[in-house]
Symmetry: C2
Subunit: 205 residues, 2 copies
């Protein structure tokens, strides 16, 4: 099998459980996790190369000039970007690459990589989404309200995703995403090698 | 959930294990199996309504006139067809319908039902395909050679299928097909109801 790896793009509402989901996919199935570059300051506990690749502005802009990102954006004076080399090397080596990204980044990636598998993770309902954000206990009400407001805008983009995954139970959610990955890997467009082989072999058996 | 059922079209080489696969899918997941109509005589052990719906030529042609088939074909003076009513009623009731069919029938169905999920089941290699046909012990060498010859033609149509499933181990094969069905059911095009709901709800939570 010299099948290329898939580019798996995961977005979703804040509080939908993307972080835990992505961690499980990487731990259980050994998928390659793309780590973003950023120019923002590391927060307490964040590790360079694990949470982000922390760069200064000059380094980041040099990477932009060298076409080093498959997508990047600027929020509140800070850059965020997805390094091209890691993603393309891993895919070429046949590894599935997971990328957790905002809606606009996902749309940009799908334009460049039409075979990217895009999925949007949602809570089962808006009430449960709010409950989960409150349950985290890490954000004040104003921040939670801001996240809920952003969810309204994000919801408008749900139809541009290939798949919608409703995260009710983590175990079910991981299995559903894994099913999507298995299915995508089974698409006939990736089976040219196998099809050519069996056609040749059928002529001589 | 008032999501419509999927139309799952399964083709594959003779000897690839389609029959066993379909039986497992129906037994384990309760999918609805579409049973073809035919005008050929029942063979020993075949049961009307289980293996086929056996019809005489007049009945069959009346059904053709009434648009009663989603596809039909004539082979060696006998008609074979897929009854429309069963397929459409089951899908409307939200049940996934499985249809085991020849390559040309699958192509015809995909034209009418672009959302139909088409999969081609193959043995891992031509040598294993021949082994399985020989192992059945039910066919003489001439028949096996005929089936292998037909496989050459069928192999040319593999790329028109959405998915290629290589049946090496039955258990893996059933799981892979089930993953494809789960993935297809998760496509955003079927989630309009959910998306509208959560958008409404986000406005008020």
């Amino acid at each position: 099998m010299d099948q290329k790896g898939l580019l798996i793009v995961i977005s979703g509402f804040s509080g939908a459980g993307k972080g835990t989901l992505v961690k499980e996919l990487v731990d259980r199935y050994g998928y390659s996790l793309s780590i973003s570059c950023t120019t923002r300051e590391p927060r307490a506990g964040e590790v360079d190369g694990v949470d982000y690749h922390f760069k200064n502005k000059e380094e980041f802009e040099r990477l932009i000039d060298y076409n080093g990102f498959i997508e990047y954006a600027q929020y509140v004076e800070n850059y965020y970007g997805t390094p091209r080399k890691f993603v393309e090397d891993e895919m070429a080596a046949g590894h599935n690459v997971i990328l957790e990204i905002e809606v606009q980044g996902a749309i940009n990636i799908k334009k460049q990589y039409p075979d990217a598998v895009t999925m949007f993770i949602s809570a089962p309902s808006a009430a449960i989404l709010r409950e989960r954000l409150v349950g985290r206990g890490s954000e004040d009400e104003a921040t939670i309200n801001k996240r809920m407001k952003r969810a309204i805008t994000e919801a408008d983009s749900m139809p541009v995703y290939d798949y919608i995954v409703i995260n009710d139970d983590l175990e079910d959610c991981v299995n559903q995403v894994q099913s999507i990955i298995v299915a995508e890997s089974s698409k006939s467009k990736y089976k040219e090698g196998f099809m050519d082989e069996i056609k040749d072999e059928l002529q001589s058996v």
